[in-house]
């Protein structure tokens, strides 16, 4: 039986797809979301098991190439020093994320005007402000109002406890007089709606068995479904189809049984993330759009940004118990903005993390050459276990057309759909930023009392943030979508995920991705009468 045509068809049920679905349901149009992954069960997450650390590294790895779930598609990562990471399920990558929830800052939207590099966004912080606030309410965000580095905003819940590591590291920032502030985090510090407060299960990246860390399967999807949105899982979209007028009229997708299905729709919305979205557009090439759908600018799949990450750690004499959500206890924006004397443009944020479990700590200390095998093993391990503290530097990755997502000529997913290939090189500007960060990070660790410090100048397994591959702008020659996410080339096709970022700032992107999705949904509502004119 053919599928009933729908008003709005969303591809991808992750961070952006869920927020958008909930909002667009207000139009009264029929809304359907196709998601290639399944619903996850909290009882399946690693922290239900004693061997949670090894499960996190294997079946719940955030690399699809390691995890190899049926819903995953492979990514050719042979030409990138940074491994692209994601999760493919209802909730998308928020199933695996750390839920650190900073917003982009007002200056992040005007990098060209302020610093003469990259491009300005066609919208500013003010446009997104109401959506940041609304999204904080739905996701459940903990934090402390009044960060001097931001326009004033009030997170709905008080900040999460720092733990011993956060308390210790904060003393270093105080000594040096550097900016620091408790993170906005999408983890609830108190019972909130139907969810119970965080009980410090540990690194959040294997999924939260308690449901305290937000993921959109437990935040947006239940309320979206209550509004009548349909979510169909196990459906992998192969391509977007067009009618004779060049408008998007639906998709072809493989269902759970591998059968090719057609779904017609009046409006098509892509929310497949910074890699999945350009992959789908390129796979939707046709006679009319030989270089890929919505790609008259040639920019689909270009300007991939990741936020390259450095890690700095220190060893302390006193024990620093590390339980708690992994994400971040506090951040520092001391080195966020351009300072020409540093030898690079733009900057980075510092994020204080918490420790992993004993196995992860043992492996990390062994990799640093600190824990040998043999008779000295236990003494050496005792000297590092819960005696280290670390932080990450998240650098602003400026867009470069040579950093790309393309279609791999050979690799395919299990349905035979061409898989993406990521080609990425660190720029000289980023390299300098990472170097600066490793020095400054170790300086603040010493100020906090570290007796020894170490660093990893580029963390390879840190391709968490996928941005820029279908960017927004007002000029169809230099952007893929307009200021409200509508493809310049196809009037009823919208892109709402991290692909549309023009620049990435130096903070985690998801708060901004979701605010954009809500902004685009409201813009469609406002313009619905003239959408096809």
């Amino acid at each position: 039986m053919p599928n009933e045509p729908v008003g709005v068809l969303i591809i991808g049920a992750g961070a952006s797809g869920a927020a958008f679905a909930w909002s667009i349901a207000d139009t009264g149009l029929s809304v359907l979301c196709l998601e290639q992954g399944p619903w996850m069960r909290q009882s399946d997450y690693p922290s239900n098991h004693l061997d949670w650390e090894s499960r996190n590294a294997t079946e719940f790895s955030s690399s699809p190439n390691v995890r190899r779930m049926a819903a995953d598609y492979p990514v050719n990562e042979t030409d990138t020093p940074i491994t692209p990471l994601m999760f493919n399920a209802v909730g998308g990558s928020t199933i695996a994320w750390a839920a650190h929830f900073p917003r982009l800052k007002p200056r992040d939207f005007r990098v060209r005007s302020d610093d003469g590099v990259a491009a300005d966004w066609p919208i500013g912080y003010d446009t997104l402000e109401p959506y940041f606030a609304l999204n904080d309410q739905v996701m459940g965000v903990s934090g402390l109002a009044g960060d001097p580095a931001y326009p004033y905003h009030e997170p709905p819940l008080p900040p999460l406890p720092f733990g011993a590591i956060g308390n210790k590291l904060a003393t270093g920032f105080e000594k040096l007089g550097w900016h620091w502030w408790p993170s906005d985090t999408a983890i609830i510090s108190q019972d909130y709606n139907d969810r119970e407060a965080c009980i410090n299960l540990g690194p959040c990246t294997g999924g939260c068995a308690h449901g305290a860390r937000a993921s959109t399967d437990i935040t947006y999807w239940p309320i979206a479904e209550r509004k009548g949105v349909q979510l169909r899982t196990g459906c992998r979209v192969k391509e977007i189809t067009l009618n004779a007028d060049g408008l998007a009229d639906g998709v072809l997708y493989y269902d759970e049984d591998g059968a090719l299905q057609e779904q017609k729709a009046e409006i098509v919305v892509i929310a497949a993330n910074g890699i999945g979205t350009p992959r789908l557009l390129l796979n939707s090439a046709s006679e009319r759009h030989p270089e890929g759908l919505a790609n008259s600018s040639g920019l689909v799949g270009k300007n991939l940004m990741f936020h390259p990450v450095a890690m700095m750690g220190g060893t302390f004499d006193e024990p620093l118990e590390g339980h708690g959500p992994r994400g971040c206890s506090f951040w520092s924006h001391e080195f966020y903005d351009t300072d020409a004397s540093r030898g690079f443009v733009r900057g980075y944020s510092l994020q204080m993390t918490r420790n992993g479990g004993p196995a992860t700590q043992a492996l990390a200390a062994t990799a640093r050459g600190k824990v040998p095998w043999g008779p000295d093993h236990h003494e050496a391990f005792a000297g590092t276990y819960n005696h280290t503290a670390s932080m990450l530097a998240l650098t602003e990755d400026l867009p470069e057309e040579t950093n790309t997502v393309t279609l791999d000529p050979e690799l395919t997913d299990s349905d035979g759909i061409p898989a993406p290939k990521v080609t990425y090189e660190l720029s000289e500007n980023t390299r300098r930023m990472l170097e600066h960060a490793t020095e400054r990070g170790q300086e603040v660790l010493r100020a906090a009392g570290a007796t020894e410090t170490y660093s990893v100048p580029l963390v390879p397994q840190a391709g968490w943030h996928l941005m820029g591959t279908a960017r927004m702008g007002t000029d169809p020659k230099t952007s893929v979508v307009n200021e409200w996410g509508r493809a310049h080339d196809v009037k009823n096709l919208f892109i709402i995920d991290g692909s549309i970022f023009v620049t990435g700032g130096a903070v985690n992107p998801t708060s901004t991705i979701q605010a954009l999705a809500l902004h685009i949904a409201d813009s469609i509502k406002r313009n619905i009468g003239s959408l096809f004119d």
Partner: protein, 146 residues
Amino acid sequence: MTSDTTSPLEDAALVTALLDTLIPPSEDAKLPGAGTLGLGDGVAAAIASNPRIAPPVTAALEALLHQTPDFATADLDTRVEALKTIEAAHPALIPSLTTPLYFAYYQHPVVLVTLGLPGRPPYPGGYETDPTDPELLDLLRSRAKT
């Protein structure tokens, strides 16, 4: 010694001695050796099922047995010296062993409890964590934008 057709990874006494060499019992005997803890089967299976590391590990263990046929029954000092010699000739051996071994050892309830952790999964019990130092919070509040 193993026969020609058996992989040294299937030689339980050898694997136990090997793991007890890599992580021997602690001096105060509170932490057991990794082999004595019974981790041999799981670690050997993890290595055998990984086509990237199984061949070099097998080759290194064959060399170890060739060099020190009584490795499984030798004392710790002898085993350490024997393994050091093999490590020099087969640098992939130890790194291939440490990932499955450390995961197995440091997730074992006996080890967790000795490290001061509850010997249970994180969920549903969760853990306590230190609250934020109130003085630090006061300091921040005094600087807060309004």
